[in-house]
Every structure is written in structure tokens, then in C-alpha cells.
């Protein structure tokens, strides 16, 4: 019999298959900081199973847990039953929005993207002092966080591309809007078609993104299929950089934080490490790395909706950097840099950069 909720129709088998073993407790970042089982995947699956069976109402009472998931997918990576909680939660969020139940921060995000070109509702996009070309080999797509919050990291990434003599252009980009899919809404068609058109107008056959989430959205969402149809390949900058001989070195103790969007969601673990190992002889992994990496706490809309918990998750991640005595924490996601940077205590002496920014600094020092 058809259930009134889409999540229940699509994911009934997965919900029934959750054996409540609790393996997700060990890896869920929200549970890790709260020790509240209602927040981990087992808790959420138990609640959604009862919604499916009609013994719990889908309403505002569930916002606290269902909207508090970073969609980091560490639970899915460690689930013996093979279920994918973030996908189930994302569809349940859409069901909630359909009945008018939504976290105000997520509702606000959707409203902002109806009127604005970016998630921060900023009026002026940074041009980074570069002219937009009408003909280039690559488009460099910055992403909202890199454009409006981590612009120094972006400026450094662009300088690095200049040093490497890459023929690229920026475009008048708008938010890829992929995040709306995570927070109960749908990708904004207008924003997507604007990006597709502006990329195509440059004649470039490759797009390099500074943001792993944008790369994920371009490669996986139907609204961006046109890029692929026209032979336009989308790469994250970590994939692009691995072929270069960078000619700089550091003796500092360097570690790498796997962004969930690049690692668990795209399977890209080794490319960033190839680049980092070329420049850093003293490279050390944190306790959790690769597919077991801890989330920085920013994803799935959690930074906007549950800011305090988001920062606490980032602090937990940084404890692991401290544990191994890292001097430099590198990552490949501006959103991670932003959240980890906000969470860092002054007493913590390590520095946090995107790999590109750190590389550019080394090149600056090398003259």
C-alpha cells in the first residue's frame, strides 16, 4: 500500500533492514558531541520507521533530529546492513517541507536562493581582479564559501593557477544550489541553467571547482547533465593539481582532513594526498582518515541551523590534529576550512589552509 510519504515509499526496504545494531554511534559526529541517541542514524531510523508505520506523526517535533544531520555519510560507510541514512533523511526532510515543517534556517536558505545568486545573499561578487575571458581552456568555479567567506583562500588558488600558467577564466557564477537538495528543497533550476549557460559561453571543455560540493552537484544532478552532454568535464582542483610538479617543499608536520563531499561522497582520497606527499616529507594521518574521516560539522545545513553544535564538531576534529602534533592542517574544501578555522582555539598553534593556499604560500616563500 502506498505510504503518504515519499521517503517511506522509496526507502521502506532500507528502513526495515536497519537492525538497530548501533554501529553508527561510533562515527556519527552529532552523536559524538551530544551522546544523545536520538541524533544518530539508529535513532533517526527508529523514528522514521515509526513514521512509516503511522505510530509517530511527521511534524515539527522531529525537526530537532531530522534536520540535525551533516549528511557526512560516515554512518552509511559503516552500516553492516548496507543502508544509506543520509539519503533517507534528505527525502524525509522534503516530506517535512511538503507538509510545512521545516527548520527556519533551511526555509530561509531556500527563500534567499529565490532572490539572490548566493547562499549569503551578498550583493557584490568578488572579481579577484581578473577579467572574465570569452575563450579559455578551463572555467574555475569558486563556489559560495570561497567567493564570500574564504576569499583569501580563493585568491591564493587563483594565484597558484596563474603560476602554473593555466588558461582559465572565472564566470559570473551563481550558487550551484545543490545544498537545497540536502535541506528539504530542490535544486533551483534557474540558478543551474544560468551556470550551465555561462560555463558553455566560455567555450571551455573543463571546469575546475574549488568546492567539492559544487563538483558533486555538477557531476550528479540532472539539471547539470547538459555539461556532460556537451563534453564538458568537471574536476575538483585536487584532481587537477595532482599532475603538476610543484617544486616546493615543507618540513612542517602536515596532516590532511578529508572533506566528506570529496571523500565519502566522491571517493577521492588519494589525489590530494599525492600532491601533499610531494611537498611535505613529514605528512601524518589523523586518527580518523580516508573513509573513516570525521566530519568538520558544517554539512547538511547544520552550520546554519545548529551553529553551536557545528563548531563543537569541528573542535572535536581539531583535537585529532592536536593529538598528532600537526603544524599544518590541509583540506580541500572551503567550507571545512571555514568551520575548522572558526572552531580553532588561539592556543592551538597549527594553521588550517586549503592545499592550494598552502602551496601558493610555499611558492611565495620560494620566490
Amino acid at each position: 500500500m502506498e505510504n503518504k510519504y515519499n521517503f517511506a515509499n522509496k526507502y521502506r526496504d532500507q528502513l526495515l533492514r536497519c537492525s538497530s545494531c548501533g554501529s553508527c554511534r561510533a562515527v556519527c559526529p552529532v552523536f559524538g558531541i551530544s551522546k544523545r541517541p536520538a541524533y544518530n542514524a539508529r535513532g533517526k531510523m527508529l523514528i522514521l520507521k515509526e513514521v512509516m508505520e503511522g505510530t509517530v506523526e511527521l511534524n515539527d517535533e522531529l525537526i530537532e533530529t531530522l534536520f540535525q544531520c551533516t549528511t557526512c555519510a560516515n554512518c552509511a560507510a559503516n552500516c553492516p546492513s548496507g543502508i544509506n541514512p543520509p539519503e533517507i533523511i534528505k527525502l524525509a526532510r522534503k516530506d517535512m517541507v511538503n507538509i510545512g515543517s521545516c527548520h527556519p534556517a533551511f526555509k530561509g536558505m531556500n527563500e534567499v536562493l529565490k532572490k539572490s545568486t548566493n547562499i549569503y545573499a551578498e550583493d557584490e561578487a568578488e572579481d579577484f581582479g581578473r577579467e572574465k575571458k570569452t575563450n579559455a581552456e578551463y572555467v574555475y568555479f569558486v563556489g559560495c564559501v570561497g567567493m564570500y567567506r574564504e576569499d583569501e583562500a580563493t585568491a591564493a588558488a587563483l594565484e597558484l593557477l596563474d603560476r602554473l600558467e593555466v588558461d582559465y577564466t572565472l564566470i559570473d557564477e551563481v550558487c550551484c544550489s545543490g545544498v537545497l537538495e540536502d535541506v528539504g528543497y530542490s535544486l533551483n533550476d534557474d540558478l543551474a541553467s544560468t551556470n550551465v549557460k555561462r560555463i558553455r559561453d566560455t567555450g571551455a571543455k573543463k571546469v575546475i571547482t574549488g568546492c567539492p560540493y559544487c563538483a558533486r552537484t555538477f557531476n550528479n544532478k540532472t539539471q547539470y547533465e547538459e555539461l556532460n552532454k556537451h563534453g564538458i568535464q568537471v574536476l575538483h582542483i585536487s584532481q587537477f593539481l595532482k599532475k603538476f610538479d610543484l617544486g616546493v617543499k615543507t618540513k612542517k608536520r602536515v596532516t590532511y582532513h578529508d572533506p566528506c563531499d570529496l571523500g565519502r561522497h566522491c571517493g577521492i582520497y588519494e589525489e590530494p594526498r599525492e600532491t601533499i606527499r610531494k611537498i611535505a616529507s613529514n605528512f601524518v594521518e589523523m586518527r580518523h582518515h580516508h573513509a573513516n574521516s570525521l566530519c568538520c560539522g558544517a554539512g547538511g545545513g547544520v552550520r546554519g541551523a545548529f551553529a553551536k553544535n557545528s563548531i563543537t564538531m569541528a573542535r572535536k576534529r581539531l583535537e585529532e590534529a592536536e593529538e598528532i602534533g600537526a603544524e599544518v592542517v590541509l583540506t580541500e574544501c572551503n567550507s571545512c576550512v571555514h568551520n575548522l578555522g572558526n572552531a580553532k582555539f588561539r592556543a592551538q598553534k597549527f594553521r588550517i589552509y586549503t592545499t592550494t593556499e598552502f602551496l601558493n604560500q610555499l611558492m611565495d616563500s620560494a620566490g
Binding site: 545494531c21 548501533g22 554501529s23 551522546k35 536520538a38 527508529l46 517535533e61 553492516p80 548496507g82
Partner: protein, 457 residues
Amino acid sequence: MNEEIKERIKGIIGSENFSDALIDRVSYSKDSSEHKHRPDAAAWPLNTGHVSEILKLANRYYFPVVARGAGTSLAGLAVPQQGGLILDMCRMDKIIDINIEDRLAVVQPGVVYADLDRALTPKGFFFPPDPASGAVCTLGGNVATNAGGIKGAKYGTTKDYVQALEVVLSDGRIIRTGSKCMKSSSGYDLTKLFVGSEGTLGVVTEITLKINPKPPLVSTALATFENLRDAGHAVSQIMHSGILPSALEVVDHQSITAIRENTSLNLPDVEVLLVAETDGYTTAETDYQMEKIVAVFRKNNATTVTKADSQEEAEALWQARKSVYGVFAKINNNLAVEDLAVPMSKVSEMMIAISTIAEKYDLKMPTVGHVGDGNLHPTICFDGTNKTEVERVNAATAELFRKVVELGGTITGEHGIGLAKIPYMDWEHEKQSIEVMRSLKETLDPKNILNPGKMGL
């Protein structure tokens, strides 16, 4: 539970450590078993004083209190069958002391097994009873369940390592049991009474564990057999060799088939396989033990014996055994991980019975187990939405435990009684023994506040 009680609990532990929200009540309604019931509320005590005050309140107002760790019980130990208050011990998660000279670790009950292991490893020590849920389960839960693990044959179970406890009794009194000494013959052994008592006699708030130096080296071998009887004989004859393997695990034919069908592991299509591990301080020591075991395997018609020459090879040999939960969990919607133990000499007879019962009731019942201590886990993979299949599962389970008792075994080796094994309690224990258990419960918890409805007491 009325509002006045809730307000009083909040007064004790603070409103940030209390919840009666629906999301918490639902998430505490289940553990890893098939049992389910919602509590009225949940509390997260931060210290022994909190636990004591809450139990005084429970004693005064008669509401059930169910202490809970990670909720990984496979027998319903953590399910609040009569509602009441969940006492989630996970925020009492400090490792208080690791004292190598005294060979002790003192922990709060919410410490996760893996976190203690991580703290002990650099010191060259370990806490041997290692449940499969070690990455998640808490030491308080391990004590309440008397949890075992893969190393039971050589190193025993949790009860063999609990030296002392701090326990809050049902009326709120706080007692200390046991001793920090390696030896003690002083008075009744109250420590052992609380270990495995499933939260029915008191709430453990501090645990003092004996820890062991960890032998750094292992030898590993895998043997395949064409029939269960040969494998069973091999298991019982290993004891004649005078060797205690640090692990001796079995994977049966249904499990092998499931692994072959659902993973890329290239397992041979054999009736049964055994994985053995010996540990020690030199390769000569571990190899000497393993050679004795391999000789027993060969003498009992092992079709193949593979010895690992490196850590990678050892991991490959373990892969089949360690992959089973993930494979079984994907076979069907529901999973009943059964737990039984029989005397070592009866292992092959029990395994043959499991296979016969699975066939009789037309059930998928792959079986693995720690045969080194006679502990088997037939795992029934079924569809809980199929009423007739559920009836067959229930009938098969009953028949399984009839056989266990007939063979002089026990209805649980390491998962506990909880709710799942209540129907079989009086099959294993005679009336007088159960009466003694009941009188202990009545003495320590006269108002039946602590985890009521469990163990059939």
C-alpha cells in the same frame, strides 16, 4: 511518570540532562534485539550522586529505572519493557586511572570499549574480553551483560577481569565491592554478583578492571573440512594437545554460502571452516602452538590448511569470519543473533542440530561462533513482516534451546537473558536456583524498580 517526578529529576541533574521528548523516547525504545518498548523519559547522569538521587526518587515514587550503555544488546537487556526512566550512562565516560604497576584500569561505565583499548595499547596492555561491538559498546554494558568475545577460550569473559565496582543500590545507597588486589578471599563476592546482573540489582557507576599485558605476536591458520563431525572433533581434540588458542572460530556452510554469494571473497565451497590464532612473545612460541593445532586439523581430515606468513595474510584469513555480520544483516529484514554455549565435547553435535533445525523449519540460519569455548551464534535471517515465517523462527528457536539444555549447555554464552531468553530460563535452571535468584533480586531491589521484567525474575 507524572510532571512532578519529571521536575524533581530535572532538579537533580539539570534540564539539559533530562528529556521526555518523543524523539528520545522512540530512540530509547529499542536495542539491537527485536524487542521494543518506549520509556517515559530519559536522563543522562554525570556522576554517582546523580544516580543515587534519582534512585532515591524512584524508590519513593515507584518508577522503573533502566540503566543503558550503547544499547547494543542482542537480547533486549536495554529495552524499558515497563516504561519508566532510561538512565543513559554514556556521559559518564571518563577513564579515571590506568595503573600498570597495580595492573588495573578504573573507568566510568560510559567508556566505550575501543576507547579503553586505545588508551591501553601504547602501554602494551589490553582488556581481553573483546565483543564484536567493541567500537560502540560501553564497559558498563559489558559488565551488565558479562560480555565475552573472540578471545574467551584463552582469556575468559568480563567477569574474569572485574576486580571492584562502585554500585548504586535501588534505594540510592552507594556501595563499593571487591578489592584492587589481585587476590582477595574477603567476604561474599559481591562484585561477581553484579557482573551479568543486567542492571536488575544495582547501577554500576565505576568499574575497576584487571588488565593484561598484550602478547605482541600471533600465528594464524585456516582449515576447511568436508563435514561438521570432523571439524567438531578437531575442536575438542585441540584441548588434548595442551594448547589454548587465543582464538578458535567456526564458520558453517550456510555462512560460507552467504559470503560466497554476497561478497567478492573467494571462499571454497566447503562444509565448514575453522580459523585459529595463537599468541605469544616470540614467533617460535606462536608457531610451536600453531603447529600442534595444525596437526590436529590434519589428523581430523582437514581438506586444506592455510597458514599466514604475514599480517596481511592473517587479515585475509580472518576476513571471512569478520565479514559475517555485514553479510547476514543484508540477507533479510530481520536478524536474530542467537547465543548459546555447549561443553566443548558437544560442539559438533550442536552444530549438526543447528543445521537440522534450520532445514526442518526452512530457515536461513548461518552459524558462526567461538568454538574454542563452545559458544555458537546461529543467526536467523528472516522477514519480520511475514507472520508464518516469524512463527517458524519462534518454533525453531525453542527447539534450538531444548537441544542446548539436553546437551548440558547454557542458553546464553555472552549475550545475557534480557527479554529474549526468558522462556528458556527454567529449562536451564532448576526451580530452587531460580528461587534463590528471585530472593537476591527481592533483597537488593524490593520494590522491583531496576530494569523490571528482565531475566524472568
